[in-house]
């Protein structure tokens, strides 16, 4: 390795971009977008994320979590409508993912926690439902709530009917109108109570309750036994929120790295090969290792520089965060490996361009399909799964001044391992095929 050769090769890369200003123009556009985003961020929104709307209008998945596997939970499991089957997942609260004892949900996932609270003395109990929706978007779980309330009511009617109480007409439940829900439930309770009283007077209810094994004393208070109280509480999920601005900045940062390492590096390299300039360099004192090293230094450095500029425009404090730099380095390593692999496999500039595009599309499709169908593990093999997560975590923690979680560090490790894996693939391919 000769320093003067590496310097000359790096200077050549830079001079080529100065002479062909397309790459620099796109970099400037990305920076301009970051500036506009920073300027358009409402005062205070960058810090603390107060009042920011969620990135998505709804959630892709809903976790129904329960403390005990009751008959009601079984009823819910058996009555998930086909259109929500892919989205609704059941999980005991004991197996919920927690960070420092606090239940956390993956991005794009909301939670419906169902607990049955009993005082241990009377047979009466309360079904406690907690709706965990994205901050600032209380209606995000509307379709799931609508299903839950409907099934809750059906289950109760069925219970009452089992005890000989005719079910009342079904009200129009509306997940966005909680008061209406509560009132409807109250009315439902009253109706059942009234029916129970009438039946008790005629002796029907007493006989039915006795047949069902309930104490006669409890049966006379009918309503409490047939329909429990309902307590609904709505709360926004705490902690970091995928805010629109932070998400866009994350996207710009990831794109800056992708653009330099997976697009510019392979296309310009293949252009040099097509023109024969790569051969001219290979016949000069520059060794193949020096040529590769210069490119491997220039493009990730340019990408990291651009990405850091974009992130710093949004939140300057991020530059002091080691996690951010580690995230950039990991993602850049992964993209560099991908770019070098494409450089080795593609013979022409057009093939390199198409290779980059095909890769992007394939990974996007894979992640989308895996996300929609809840396919596990497969996304863990893509840099694009971990990259945005760690970069967003870095940006969010810098903005909100919050601690990074253990999950963030695991994601960083995942990105770093993928980076090493891609670089290994690229180096092995280069040794076997070279760039000629």
């Amino acid at each position: 390795m000769h320093a003067h050769i590496i310097r000359a090769l790096i200077a050549k890369e830079w001079q080529r971009h100065v002479a062909n200003r397309g790459g620099i123009a796109l970099g400037v556009l990305l920076v301009a977008a970051a500036v506009l985003l920073s300027v358009s961020t409402p005062r205070g929104a960058a810090k603390g994320g107060g009042g920011a709307a969620g990135l998505v209008g709804g959630v892709n998945h809903c976790l129904v979590q329960y403390d005990t596997h009751t008959v009601f939970v079984t009823h819910l499991m058996e009555n998930v409508p086909p259109e929500l089957k892919q989205q609704i997942h059941f999980q005991p609260l004991s197996r919920a993912q927690t960070v420092n004892g606090v239940i956390v949900y993956p991005v794009g996932t909301g939670g419906l926690q169902v607990r049955e609270l009993r005082d241990g003395v009377s047979p009466n109990y309360t079904v406690h439902v907690s709706v965990w929706h994205p901050e600032g978007n209380p209606t995000a779980l509307a379709p799931y709530e609508a299903w839950l309330w409907k099934e809750f009511r059906r289950w109760n009617v069925r219970r009452a009917q089992l005890r000989g109480v005719p079910g009342p007409p079904e009200p129009a439940f509306d997940a966005e109108n909680q008061w209406l829900l509560t009132e409807a439930h109250k009315r439902f309770q009253d109706q059942v109570a009234e029916a129970a009283a009438n039946n008790a007077a005629s002796g029907v209810f007493e006989a039915t309750a006795a047949a069902a094994g309930a104490p006669v004393a409890a049966a006379t208070t009918g309503v409490k036994l047939a329909v429990p109280d309902l307590d609904v509480k709505r709360e926004g999920l705490g902690g970091e929120v995928l805010t629109f601005h932070a998400a866009i900045v994350t996207g710009l940062v990831v794109f800056a790295l992708y653009f330099t390492c997976v697009y510019l590096l392979p296309t310009l390299n293949c252009e040099e090969r097509e023109r024969g300039v790569l051969l001219a360099q290979a016949l000069s004192p520059a060794s193949p290792l020096e040529i590769v090293t210069a490119k491997a230094l220039f493009y990730p450095t340019a990408g990291i520089g651009l990405a850091a500029t974009i992130a710093a425009i949004y939140q300057p404090a991020i530059l002091a965060q080691p996690f951010f730099w580690l995230s950039l380095a990991s993602v850049a390593a992964g993209f560099l490996g991908i770019g070098m692999t494409i450089s080795t496999l593609a013979r022409t500039q057009r093939a390199a361009f198409l290779g980059g595009m095909c890769y992007l599309m394939a990974v996007s499709m894979l992640l989308t399909i895996c996300s929609l169908n809840n396919i596990p593990i497969l996304p863990y093999f893509t840099v694009e799964y971990f990259g945005p997560r760690i970069l967003h975590a870095a940006i969010s923690s810098a903005v909100n001044n919050t601690e990074l979680t253990k999950t963030n560090w695991w994601n960083l490790l995942g990105a770093a391992l993928l980076g090493v894996a891609w670089l290994t693939v690229a180096v092995r391919l280069f040794r076997r095929r070279g760039w000629q």
Partner: protein, 285 residues
């Protein structure tokens, strides 16, 4: 047997593309300070031989040494020894001529001033600061030569160096090559221009179907292989060929000259073109 005078030695060189032998057992010694022409019809194996010499193709069999170093095993030592002018230009289009040379000058670790010297040498100094994308084919070719001259290599490989050049530029190239040879460099060129071969080459190797079919100076080759025939155009427009090695031919030509019927007359004695065609088996009957 390699002598101390030998700069490039090819021993039993064989290059296979699948089952096809592009070069088939080539033995050749090229001396120091020699301007050597490698000739042959299309597909004869010239370019493949050059590709082996510049390390871009591994020999299937045989050994190739340059300056005493094995091209396959001591590539790092061979690389600084040579300059290469490809048949297809390969410049950074977006750079000026000078910047192109400056980049390679940095790789070769030669002073920047050398760029202007070689640009002057190939008469491109006035166009030095123009982008290469505006250069003509001839200018691009001359820039390739300038690049190959940057580090004053001991060996130069040139693939059709005067293709697309005007007469004056071709003369400039010839002058530069002769000058390099005068300073002890070895020059190997491939060309289809027979006049150029006759004009500047010290020795010529003619390859055909991957084999060396002739090796000598252009003059010696002509003398050894040319036909002693005379092409005559008579005053009435009729054309005839007289073989000087036959009595009939000699007698017929004498009568024609004596009766004053000859309009034009041309001997084939020093026709290198015909020699080449004869040696490669491509001459028309």
């Amino acid at each position: 047997m390699t002598t101390p005078d030998t700069m490039i030695a090819l021993r039993g060189l064989r290059v296979l593309y699948g089952a096809f032998a592009a070069v088939d057992g080539l033995d050749l010694d090229i001396r120091r300070g020699e301007l050597f022409g490698l000739l042959g019809p299309n597909g004869a194996g010239k370019s493949t031989t050059i590709r082996v010499l510049i390390g871009q193709r591994a020999p299937s069999a045989g050994v190739v040494t340059v300056g005493g170093f094995d091209v396959a095993r001591e590539w790092a030592k061979v690389k600084p020894l040579f300059g290469y002018v490809p048949d297809r230009e390969n410049h950074f289009e977006e750079f000026t001529g000078r910047r192109n040379l400056e980049f390679f000058a940095r790789l070769y670790n030669v002073p920047r001033e050398r760029c202007l010297t070689v640009l002057k040498l190939v008469e491109l100094d006035e166009a030095a600061n123009l982008p290469v994308r505006g250069y003509s084919l001839g200018m691009r070719k001359k820039l390739l030569l300038a690049r190959a001259l940057l580090h004053e290599p001991q060996v130069m490989y040139l693939d059709e160096p005067t293709a697309n050049l005007d007469i004056h530029s071709a003369e400039v190239v010839h002058r530069i090559l002769r000058d390099r040879v005068k300073h002890g460099a070895t020059v190997v060129l491939t060309t289809h221009n027979m006049e150029e071969v006759e004009q500047i080459c010290d020795r010529v190797g003619i390859v055909c179907r991957g084999k060396l079919v002739a090796l000598d100076s252009p003059l010696a080759l002509k003398q050894a292989h040319t036909e002693r025939k005379v092409d005559v155009t008579r005053n009435d427009g009729e054309r005839a060929v007289y073989d000087l090695d036959t009595e009939t031919g000699l007698k017929g030509l004498s009568e024609l000259v004596a009766t004053g019927q000859v309009a034009t007359m041309r001997t084939r004695e020093f026709d290198f073109h015909a020699t080449f065609l004869k040696l490669t088996g491509l001459a028309f009957d």
